[in-house]
Symmetry: C2
Subunit: 315 residues, 2 copies
């Protein structure tokens, strides 16, 4: 399967610039290329040389010059030919299986964190896929039949992730008998509620029902946002475990890392006056990005989350 096929396919739906294609590929899961320029521009040039597409240079006064590519008749012929070519079986490339196969002399605890981390990665990928399905290029289908097909395609991918999570559960049961069970019960599960303001939703952790205390809790936060179908998150003070507040544990860093990875914007409520030392430096650094802010009150936090950057509290 060549990237040319995908490019040709996209252009068959509507004329696009190289940049457009790049963005579509970056956002799409099933178009499994990374969406790097090099390949796309090269593919476009090659397709142009083969007469499959034509590039029209557009000079607009109030926009950078761009090249709009349009598919030609012979391009459509080529696409038809590719559409009928022998399908390839899916490539099974699950590095984690290799990792698991050779982790022979690992302790139970290590194995468990490994499984937890894997589950988190899969959950994250799933989250991204679902987000893309909602607001991606392919959601506004042209014909009913096509959008039906695209729905099925996304379903296929979502399904693989779901199955993978099921499988992780089975592995956990098989290799972590008993020992793990009790441990998990000790740790109170976090809970959340979805709050709606002005048509915008955000997830708010419920204080006193579990704390953000470890890397895996960061994963759970991502999951909550996925379930709540939002990328906005409120962390009340009472939800932050001492481990989170102690920099040396690394928990804060790992959790924020997770959140930025899945472009979740989080607002934490802390007594800003009481923050000092290295933790203050860390928070200042974290505040530089767009994905995390600390506020004195929940009201301020909410305003930032749903209303943009007004009333932002700079430490």
């Amino acid at each position: 399967m060549l990237i040319q096929h995908a490019v040709l396919g996209l252009l068959s739906l509507r004329p696009l610039t190289g940049y457009d294609i790049k963005k579509i590929m970056q956002e799409s899961t099933f178009l499994h290329w990374s969406g790097n320029n090099n390949q796309i521009y090269k593919a476009l040039m090659q397709l142009r040389d083969e007469g499959c597409v034509v590039g029209e240079v557009l000079h607009e006064d109030d926009a950078p010059t761009k090249k709009l590519y349009t598919i030609t008749e012979s391009g459509r012929d080529e696409l038809r030919r590719l559409s009928l070519s022998m399908p390839e079986a899916p490539e099974v490339k699950k590095p984690f299986l290799v990792q698991l196969a050779f982790c022979g002399n690992l302790s139970r605890a290590d194995l468990e964190t490994l499984l937890n981390r894997y589950e988190g990665e899969v959950r994250g990928a799933m989250f991204l896929n679902e987000k893309q399905q909602k607001d991606g290029f392919f959601s506004h289908g042209s014909t009913a039949e096509e959008s039906e097909l695209w729905k099925l395609i996304h379903e296929n991918i979502a399904d693989s992730y779901r199955r993978e999570l099921d499988w992780v559960g089975r592995v956990r049961q098989a290799v972590l008998p008993l020992a793990g069970e009790e441990k998990r019960k000790e740790h109170v599960k976090m809970n959340y509620q979805v709050i709606v303001r002005n048509g915008q939703k955000y997830v708010k952790l419920i204080p006193k029902e579990g704390l953000v205390a470890s890397e895996s809790d960061g994963r759970t936060l991502v999951q909550f946002c996925a379930e709540g179908d939002t990328n906005l998150l409120m962390l009340p003070f009472a939800c932050l475990a001492p481990e989170f507040l102690r920099l040396s544990t690394g928990v804060a860093g790992l959790v924020l890392q997770k959140l930025t990875n899945y472009s979740i914007r989080a607002a934490a409520v802390l007594d800003t006056a009481a923050i000092k030392g290295k933790f203050k430096d860390f928070m200042l650094e974290a505040n530089r990005g767009q994905s995390f802010r600390v506020f004195d009150s929940e009201e301020q936090a909410e305003q930032w989350l749903i209303g943009g950057n007004i009333n932002e509290k700079h430490l």
Copy 2:
């Protein structure tokens, strides 16, 4: 995930030569590398330079000189480090989804053959995976825990294929309503029985219950062998449709291609004296391989299938 990790992992189980590793990788599904020399020998040299493995040259009198690689203590440390590294989410690389996404103006019939072919490819991959699981490097597990893990790993892969087939079914229902149903009923389904002789099994098509008439029937044959857990197949004369016997249809070629792809050995029963012209040339050519032979009687065919090459009928 680097191939070095996999190589190190294999060597942690037992010392191996580069050639051994190559073969293991070729046969394994979850070790998703193609098993080409270049990479493996390079990886071994690199690991040697890093002190992770040591290569011992063995001069045996009655065998080619070989280098047996053994993992070192620092190699085991490295493996432990890799085992604990952050797991990667599985790569979803299903070229067929791309193909399907852009097959807009294809006819129903074309779409159906496309789905059929895809199903065949997946089924084939599944077959290979199951075969490997049985007689692969990882079937003779060392500890109970490890073989439990490996079972789970193979289950994971088998599961993905199964789900993929389920999905194909759903797609078929969604995009090929009604029209396809009737068509499928016209075509009588083939049937088979598993015959056991001297502890060896082979699949025998049952005459008069469907004919080998198309490419997709070749796929079905692969499926039958997979179900019967054998790679030996008997094709009685009465099972071969006129389309198979007519070379111009290409059916014979496509079916034999399928069978060789999955290393299935098939014996066809035909009146060898009556074979002539281009079809005879084709059969002669096909007979050159190890995977297909024509016989006058079922007895001869069976002997070749289960007993090796004795009593082989050379056209």
